[in-house]
């Protein structure tokens, strides 16, 4: 009798722990599903559209990033002088000349026309990827955002080729180096943006979910170490690779038909 009672007393905490574990796992499952979903924050009422235009969280975070960077840009470019006297201007000039050299190396002689776009995308993706550190959901976690970025890139790449070599030059360049390569070149127009947008999306969403898991399991302290890798290092590296590939493809399009 005593023995069985002991057994029951033994089992009870174990069973309680098991149910607790199961509920924790279910919590985690719900949490991850919530994090993956793109939330509609509010709707702009518009006539003729049922329910209005949905505004997603990624859009709102993008607005915040825009506001922050407009503010920083105004702050940094106030009373600039030809000969820099302030540290602020010297630092800014170092950044701009790094960007200019980066574009010149990858795009070539006509890089100055494309530099503002490349710089803007670099700053935006960089800021978007580290938004997770400030308690926001990174906009690049939303597949629609990365698809839009990749479409912008491919339009710029093909547009630059058409602008340089004309409409017929563009089609001629599709058949280079030999006409047999034409199907591959046409496929590449679709494959390039696909891999651009999915690389960014895959990395950001993976980093974000893993960070959320770590935060869920270990609440304080240790997540900061992982955040250093997943948010800062991986985030900036992906931003760099995105603009690096974009600028390289632009340079390739400009160069190719010259042969």
């Amino acid at each position: 009798m005593f023995n069985t009672m002991l057994n029951v007393a033994d089992i009870a905490p174990v069973a309680a722990a098991a149910t607790q574990q199961a509920s924790a796992s279910a919590d985690l499952s719900v949490e991850i599903k919530e994090q993956i979903e793109c939330v509609v924050l509010f709707r702009i009422p518009v006539p003729f559209i049922a329910g209005g235009i949905p505004v997603y969280e990624s859009t709102v975070v993008t607005w915040i990033i825009m506001a922050v960077f407009i503010f920083i840009a105004i702050l940094l470019t106030r009373n600039l002088k030809i000969v820099p006297t302030t540290k602020r201007q010297a630092a800014l000039e170092v950044c701009v000349s790094w960007l200019r050299n980066f574009c010149r190396d990858n795009i070539g002689a006509e890089s100055d026309r494309y530099m503002p776009y490349i710089g803007t995308v670099l700053i935006y993706i960089g800021a978007a990827n580290i938004a997770g550190m400030f308690g926001m959901k990174p906009p690049t976690k939303d597949l629609s955002v990365t698809i839009a970025l990749a479409l912008m890139s491919i339009c710029l790449i093909e547009g630059a080729t058409i602008r340089k070599h004309g409409f017929f030059g563009f089609f001629k360049h599709l058949g280079s180096p030999t006409p047999i390569m034409a199907p591959m070149n046409v496929l590449e127009i679709g494959i390039r943006p696909l891999s651009l947008c999915l690389r960014l999306f895959g990395n950001v969403v993976a980093a974000f979910i893993i960070m959320e898991l770590i935060k869920f399991v270990i609440p304080a302290g240790i997540p900061a170490v992982f955040s250093l890798y997943f948010d800062i290092f991986d985030g900036f590296l992906q931003a760099y690779i995105f603009v690096f590939l974009t600028s390289l493809f632009i340079g390739e399009g400009l160069e190719k038909a010259e042969e």
Partner: protein, 145 residues
């Protein structure tokens, strides 16, 4: 059972990344021994390559996590999703190979390090594209099918 096996297969993608990173690191160490004054460039090249190789392992981890927490247990496509993401194994090894040779090349000819690094990045990005195709198919299998 099905999900456990599928998640294990998915996370196996990391094996390729481990081999690739190991190769890259071994060649980078050799390269630094041969040309100690270029150690900064070699180390940063290795870091970029390793992060790219690591990304394939992260894709595997992502799919494993999604299989465990998001996929419905009675779905028939979980094993397919796991096998699809294992494509990244090849990409991990390939990126590691490219990075290891890039480190060697920088040690041999430090003055063209910029060209070497951008060539390596193009190749790595193309190799990683294959891992991305695997990830795409496996995400589609989890969410769409």
């Amino acid at each position: 059972m099905g999900i456990a096996m599928a998640a294990a297969v998915a996370v196996l993608t990391g094996a390729g990344a481990a081999i690739g990173i190991g190769m890259a690191t071994s060649h980078a160490s050799e390269a630094i021994a041969r040309q100690p004054e270029a150690k900064k460039d070699i180390r940063s090249t290795m870091l970029i390559g390793c992060a790219l190789a690591e990304a394939t392992a992260i894709y595997g981890l992502l799919v494993a996590i999604m299989l465990i927490f998001v996929a419905s247990p009675d779905s028939t496509s979980i094993m397919g999703a796991a096998v699809a993401v294992v494509t990244g194994m090849g990409a991990g090894i390939g990126i590691g190979l490219a990075t290891s040779r890039a480190c060697d090349s920088i040690a041999r000819q430090p003055e063209v390090k910029k060209d070497i690094r951008s060539t390596m990045l193009i190749g790595c990005a193309l190799a990683e594209a294959t891992a991305i195709y695997g990830l795409l198919v496996s995400i589609m299998l989890i969410f769409v099918v």
